[in-house]
Amino acid sequence: MSLGVNEPASAGSGPEPERPTVIGGSTRFVPGQSNDRITIVNGKVQLGQRLVDLWHNRDLLVLLTRTELKVKYKESALGYAWSMLNPALVLAIYYMIFKVISKTPQPHFAIWLFCGLVAWNLFNNSASASTTVVVGKAGIIKKVAFPRELLAMSTVGVAIVLFAIQMVVLVIFLALFQQAPDWAALWLLPLAFIALLVFTCAVSIFLSAVNVYLRDTQHLTEVAMMAWFWLTPIVYPFGLVAPHLKQYHLTWLYLANPIAPIAMTFQRVIYGQTSYVAAGATTPTQLLPAYGPGWYAMMMGIVILVSTGLFLLSLMVFGRLEGNFAEEL
């Protein structure tokens, strides 16, 4: 058979050389079959195409996540145990401060703390890691074409794995303290998890792209996360701030922080109580809004809706900024 190079640009008139479909025992390349797909490269942000590409490359997301985890804990003797150390320490410190020093009368305060922290950690881990992920992977970005959002989403993937480990520990805690979650409201948990995921993805993708151009973002994020943590009812119950918020008509503004209703839903389901009666007190202390699961479901619905919008928006921002990644890095 004649080689391709011997027939330069015969302008369509010459007979096409017959191309065998079986070459060297492998049946792979069939001209005209795999050519249906046409990739278009231009300066525009094609949101639909981006979503399709993300879906096609879901295997890559899993691999990137696995790589991150493997590299992170590869040479350490304790391995994944390290991922628990930080949350455990945070939990221990707040427990000491609130239970031992300020002597909060709230029963099973450790579980209460853990419920909010688990949700917060997923968000915090991912958002913090996402700022540096694109900058840190400059080598790949400059040389390989793939949906780069996946790098940011892989930080979410890593956070999910750590979340899963913490959830297991939380379940062990529940068993140790012989506490049961609110089984009737358990269906809220997947809803809250999805809301948390979508919102975290949106924030992570946005931050990862912006940090390429504004390297201050990573430092700013660290500080912002600290403030964000205290704006979210994790250590203190929502019930504590609710009267004050109501007084200044700030309740909805407070709940506009999507992590707040998400954390509250986690607490509502896992902690299982919306109020408790302190020893010697006659009126119950309110922890969470006393509404039924419907209210929480509605909140999660709103968060998912808004977060999906933010997710698409962050994809568009990422698409805009991505065009020059290879030269900016």
């Binding site: 190079v5 295997d59 493997k70 074409a145």
Partner: protein, 423 residues
Amino acid sequence: MTTAIEVREISKQFKLYTEKRTSLKERVIRGGKMPYTPFWALQDINVDINQGETFGILGRNGCGKSTLLKCIAGILKPTSGEIRVRGSLAAMLELGAGFQPDLSGRDNIFLNGSLLGLSRTEIAKRYDEIVAFAELEDFIDNQVKFYSSGMYVRLGFAVAVNVEPDVLLVDEVLAVGDASFQRKCLDHVKKFQREGRTILVVSHSTDVMRQNCSRVMVMNHGKVITIDEPGEGIRVFLADLLGVGTLEGSESGGIEGNVLAIGSVSAEHGGSGQRMHLYPGESLTITADLDSLAAVPNAMATIAIHDDGNELVFASDPDDPMCAIEVPEGGGMVRFHFPEVPLLDGTYSVSVGVRSATDTAIFDWKDQVTKFEVANPGRSTGRVRLPLDVSFRLRSASHTGEVPAVGSDPSPLALPGWEQSTA
């Protein structure tokens, strides 16, 4: 013939910041705008690359060829214009880009394959083939950071070619590994060509272009200079872009203290037409003006030719009686005539000198005073076109008749040291 890659009016602007300031403070101070100089790396590039074609992009460093390749690969986004790629595409811009040093070879195959767009099941299917191709069976579970650089690029190449794309983009990475692996790589490229896949190569090696490409695009300053067959494209590249004026003359100095001085030197080829380069085998005449204050009866003219790598190609015998000249007062012209120049592609510089025949005194020596260029329309490569005659005869005694070979040129796809039997 179907077009595999359509490039339509692609332009790419880079922003060259005078100093890289990306902190928020600076942005705020400057109201969000940063001073920059626009630099057009690509300007209105239009090209159609046919399916099954091996297309080369040739150009100097910084001419935009790699930028174009990155735009086609989707790594960079063009500022304006559109590129359409038919079928799957894999880019080999750097072998082993995206390898994680801390992971094993096995994990990296999956990661890299996935980055190139394969699904897990597809990689799993090709896994054994990739490992065998990279010749890393014994080390596949070792961390990549312990690999030698050769092993590293071998693995990178093995993954990239086993992706089996419809369109393969290659950026000067063909020369990896040891000789036997190189041969394997080129065999693979040839197999790609046979299978009708499209290959786009970026290189400044004219040899690679000449032997592998069906067409060549020459670029300069982000613009297309020409799209042509390799021979002509390479000639344009060498002549127009490397700034080597062919057959140029030179004006130079008068007499400074010496009795005899060389004036202008010019080169002229014996071929027909107005072209500015020689074809291999044509004649070449170098003429040098001599000025002399007094008669020099015992002078010897010498000439030397260097190639573009400054290696000496030829120097005349300093004691050859043929080179003896007798220069009268006032001077004259000395003519060096080569009836046949068997040199192949390249730019050659000519040095001319006049020395005394009786002692070691050198009257004048003009080092690399003029240049000439040889452009080879054929596909043979190297420095010299040696006269070649190829014939074939059967081994058995009963058949003694000679069968002439089909062509006297070596196989068009063969690089030196590569197997030529497939042609």
